[in-house]
Amino acid sequence: MSKRRVLWISLVAVMIISSSLFMVGAGTKEAEEVVPAKVGGAGLGYKFILVSHGSSGDPFHSVVKQGMEDAGLVYGCAVQLLFSEGDNAKQVDLMEQAISAGPDGIGISIVDPVAFDEVIQKALDKGIPVISFNNDDANTPNPRLAYIGAAERAVGYQLGKTMQQYLKRGDHVVIPEEVPGMSYAVNRSAGIIDAMDEIGVTTEELDAGYERATTTSRIESYLMGHPETDGILNVGGLTTEVAGMVVEDRGLENKVVVGGFDLLPNTGPAIKKGITKAVIDQQPYLQGYYTVVQLAMMKYGKFAAFDIDTGRGIVDTSNVDEVLELVGMRIR
């Protein structure tokens, strides 16, 4: 190897190391908040590991994380959250690692009906209690002790039910999905369709993509090709935001109603303007919060685990301002 090349390699190495140090530095502030506060609450001193299918960059999961960390502070427990970034196999691996770390309890979001059965049983065999949060395997047997969260189909139905007042028999709605086939999309759209069927509204699903330029173009194209559309009922936050913007952009405020999920930056203003009629808040903070509380109580009082429905918050013009304030605090 030439001297010059060695020089370059070392230069790049220095660059990488220093930039990663910089990033760690940037992240420390956040990390400090996770450190268990012995002073907080009862100071139980338990250690829990939570394995999520989500990605650290998803605002939804960031709020779940906030709920977990807050509960950890209140109960004086150490909470470690691992993300698999949507990779089921990786999530099983993370679960294995969690088991060998020997925590006092494990929470897991179960996004596959069979993939996690074995590894959850393994944890239980070792005496580590496991409960599921956010996503559950409700249709096939699974050894997890309880589920903390909302049922996706019920959540979708709730949106449809809320939107019924803005639609009438013979109307048509489109259901854009960021990733058709993902379990949340399948179940929420099924729930929406149930509610629309009740009042005789026709529905069509749209593969909207998950990149904003593409999503914008596809939703606009749909409205162009289907001028009979009276509503856009979204299963995810990204399309909810884009749909509101598209309707405003095309001046269809009085013709097309929008409903969906989450409060991304442009969704709040769209609710205030009356373009987006309502969004469902899954209350992710509570999903994280109660998971930790449940695990702590199971250890503390040897209580039996039980399911907790974290509810379905409806956000519309009546409460959007106060919810937005809480969004800023990462509670909603």
Partner: protein, 327 residues
């Protein structure tokens, strides 16, 4: 009589010459597709519908222009989607959190993009790692960085600032970003076709050893092309921020493949050494208009991707047939 003969001969000669010209077949295919699409659905060729296509193509198209130059020089960049999120996030943060003037914030964002390109270029050329691997690594690294910096929460950016309107506003209804797309396409076309650097970009990708033998600084050529695509990805991401009024940590997901797709549909060879900017513009427009026509015509959700895939393969096959295959 002989005069007439001569004239027709001249004409067919010209036609051949025109067909031989490297950009013409993609233009023919685009026109053919637009004709077919109009026959399929007469709404396709309305001003209103074309505006839909024109509004969103620039975000991908600007990246695809940079990708074209980089692929011609013989390298790839998979990190553009992450740069598309990271650099504008820096811009939005500097402007909104630190109160920097939005124009300076935009300039800083573009400098960050150029810097990302520089790092990609240095690692690829000086350390000697294939750019596919280098940029796969930096793709993850910068996505991680933007996640860390944002904690997943979008960073707001005022949509009605003059700079935002300059890049993503409307000019009597027409989306300004498309004008910028064309402006950058023309600049890059001039650079690629009419400057020494452009010629070096072609020959570096076409035959690296020959270029080295003739004293062309191939590493420098590649690094500069990495920097160009980094800067363009930052600009494209900023345009999306101006349009949406927010910088998102998950922006630009999957854009690297779309950009490579647009480039290849436009006739650029993945092996390097040949390709054109005009082809890439057409490639980008084809991607968005194919999606548009399929949705306009009411294809069911789960068949959608299949239709897009089939039409793209058909279009590229026609391209190969017209132009003749080159190895």
């Amino acid at each position: 009589m002989s005069k007439v003969q001569k004239k027709t001969k001249h004409r067919t000669g010209n036609l051949k010459k025109v067909l031989r010209y490297k950009d013409i077949s993609i233009v023919i295919i685009t026109i053919a597709l637009f004709t077919i699409f109009t026959l399929v659905n007469k709404k396709f060729l309305t001003k209103e519908n074309l505006f839909i296509i024109v509004k969103t193509t620039p975000e991908l198209g600007i990246i695809a222009i940079g990708m074209t130059m980089l692929i011609i020089s013989g390298e790839f960049d998979l990190s553009v989607g992450s740069t598309f999120a990271f650099a504008p996030f820096i811009m939005a943060s500097l402007s909104e959190r630190m109160g920097l003037h939005p124009v300076f914030a935009l300039i800083m964002g573009i400098i960050v993009g150029v810097g990302i390109g520089f790092i990609n270029g240095i690692i690829t050329t000086k350390v000697g790692i294939p750019s596919f691997i280098t940029t796969l690594g930096t793709m993850m690294a910068w996505r991680g960085a933007v996640l860390l910096a944002s904690a997943g929460f979008p960073q707001a950016f005022q949509r009605d600032l003059p700079v935002a309107r300059l890049f993503a506003g409307r000019l009597s209804g027409f989306p300004v970003q498309f004008i910028w797309f064309i402006v950058f396409a023309i600049i890059m076309w001039i650079i690629l076709e009419n400057t020494r650097f452009g010629n070096w970009t072609y020959v570096t990708g076409g035959n690296r050893n020959a270029s080295v033998a003739l004293g062309i600084p191939v590493d420098r050529v590649k690094i500069i092309n990495f920097m160009i695509i980094g800067g363009l990805a930052a600009l494209a991401g900023s345009i999306q921020v101006f349009r949406m009024g927010s910088a998102y940590s998950n922006a630009g997901l999957g854009m690297e493949l779309q950009a490579i797709g647009a480039t290849v549909i436009g006739g650029t060879m993945l092996t390097g050494g040949s390709g054109t900017i005009i082809g890439t513009i057409m490639g980008t427009i084809i991607i968005f208009s194919v999606e548009n026509i399929i949705i306009l015509s009411g294809a069911p959700a789960f068949w959608f991707r299949t239709f897009v895939g089939v039409i793209i393969i058909v279009a590229v096959s026609a391209h190969v047939l017209i132009q003749g295959r080159r190895d």
